[in-house]
């Protein structure tokens, strides 16, 4: 292991051994260098690495602090993002970018497996988590069985909540793909980051209780504060219960 890797691990151990919590401050660089007998450059490199990994946070002139853990978005729970973020202890606000009833185009036909020109509901929202712009969520919902779906205020209401309570539809399972993308001009503008910034690209199809396609979604999520999580287990365990 390089000395940088060794020091990186020493800092991690220091945090654990001293039971430091998010927001707690680490000893000064000078003290740590002395304690471990390393040069300032190596220590700084290690701190930089840990800050890139989201373990610590350096504040100019104030020192190095244990970072707040990222929000883990568990993909297994089939919760809507509002429920998921609330469950992770985050505060969520949303801005509706567009909300409209439309006729299914070729894209919708392909993704949602509906007939051309059948009614679909398209919704795009920006999610703000703990005051920071964190994601753009776009969904297309098969609106055939949910008349009036466009009449809700999705800045305050959860889409999954409306589907469940008004129409008895629940997203029970599906497949998602997680990839990496670079923000284009429009996305960059909505999220308030420079164009070309790296982000998560998430897309998937969720089926309702009867196995019919319910929604196709794409989400662009900023990686600074979010981690996707999932539990690997035999599929049958989760089915049919």
């Amino acid at each position: 292991m390089s000395s940088r890797d060794t020091i990186t691990e020493l800092i991690e151990c220091y945090i654990i051994d001293n039971d430091l919590r998010p927001g707690d401050r680490l000893p000064s660089e000078r003290d740590l260098c002395k304690q471990w007998g390393v040069n300032r450059m190596t220590l700084r490199n290690a701190i930089k690495r840990l800050s890139e990994l989201g373990v610590v946070e350096s504040k100019v002139g104030l020192g190095t602090f244990v970072a707040k853990p990222k929000i883990v978005r568990n993909l297994q729970d089939t919760l809507g993002s509002s429920e998921a973020i609330a469950a992770a202890g985050g505060e969520l606000e949303r801005i509706v970018v567009s909300s409209r009833l439309a006729e299914a185009d070729k894209h919708a036909v392909r993704q949602l497996h509906v007939m051309l020109a059948s009614p679909v509901f398209e919704l795009t929202r920006v999610c703000i988590v703990d005051g920071e712009r964190a994601a753009i969520e776009s969904v297309i919902v098969n609106a055939r069985d949910c008349p009036g779906i466009e009449g809700h205020d999705y800045a305050v209401e959860s889409l999954y909540g409306v589907l469940r309570e008004e129409y008895g539809l629940v997203a029970t399972r599906g497949t998602e793909r997680i990839d990496v993308c670079k923000l284009d001009e429009r996305e960059a503008d909505l999220l308030d980051y420079p164009a070309g910034t790296t982000a998560f690209f998430q897309e998937g199809l969720m089926l309702d209780q009867e196995g019919k396609p319910l929604e196709y979604f794409t989400t662009i999520a900023m990686p600074q504060r979010i981690v996707f999580g999932t539990e690997l287990r035999p599929f049958s365990e989760g089915e049919g219960r």
């Binding site: 989201g54 497949t175 996707f228």
Partner: protein
């Protein structure tokens, strides 16, 4: 053993000996047995006879012949149907390709608090650390770091990990994973790693982290893997487990 005695053909007798040593663990799973030349010399027999003896065990799936490397013991394996597993699955952009593994480092070391906490062991316990490069068609796809408690896999230092995936090793030692917690993040990578993964100007990678548990709830592995985002993506099946 099974009707072999001193009047049996020599190749049958040797086959019996090797089979016995595999079953007692003297020849450990994942580890090469003595070379054909060595066996021939030891017992004063022809190399072709040795080959004939081993061929039967290769056919049975107890041994695996690897070109230029030797003959390896294959331990018990458990068939898995990946379609019946939830969780992230890595997919290579553009579909099929020939996988490869290059071991960059492996060592026995003290766990220390950071990995003791992740593996649920004492900081003074020893762990194996393995660093490897995963390849697809010879191109680097990801760099992985694996941490496992030594206690669970005593012979791991001798196992040829370029031949046997960790999954096989777990089966060999009857520590089959039943559950894993996986996370996916995007993180910037350091210059050295970027060069190793041939990232070019790209500085971000998909960091996949995984804690693997066996039946009794013990963590058998902590793994971290930095993936080239232009070369692979992850898929996940979600289902309402409630």
């Amino acid at each position: 053993m099974s009707g072999i005695d001193e009047s049996s053909p020599i190749f049958m007798q040797l086959r019996g000996v090797v089979r016995e040593r595999i079953s007692t663990g003297e020849y450990a799973p994942g580890v090469a047995i003595p070379s054909e030349n060595t066996l021939a010399k030891t017992y004063g027999i022809n190399r072709l006879t040795v080959r004939a003896a081993l061929d039967g065990l290769v056919e049975e799936g107890l041994l695996k012949r690897v070109q230029g490397k030797g003959v390896f013991v294959v331990g018990k394996r458990i068939e898995r149907d990946l379609d019946h597993l939830t969780g992230f699955r890595k997919a290579i952009e553009g579909g099929m390709s020939k996988p490869g593994v290059k071991i960059l480092d492996r060592q026995r070391r003290r766990a220390g608090s950071a990995y003791a906490k992740r593996l649920g062991i004492d900081p003074e316990d020893e762990i194996f650390y393995i660093k490897r490069l995963d390849l697809a068609d010879g191109e680097p796809i990801s760099m992985e770091e694996v941490y496992v408690p030594c206690e669970l896999f005593p012979n791991l230092m001798d196992v040829d990990l370029e031949i046997f995936p960790m999954q096989d090793v777990y089966d060999f030692y009857e520590s089959s994973p039943v559950r894993a917690w996986q996370t996916l993040e995007i993180v910037p990578v350091e210059t050295r790693l970027a060069r190793m993964l041939k990232l070019g100007d790209e500085r971000d990678a998909l960091l996949f982290t995984c804690y693997t548990y066996r039946e009794d709830g013990r963590v058998i592995e902590f793994m971290r893997s930095y993936n080239r985002s232009d070369a692979c993506f992850f898929t996940v099946k979600v289902s309402d487990g409630e």
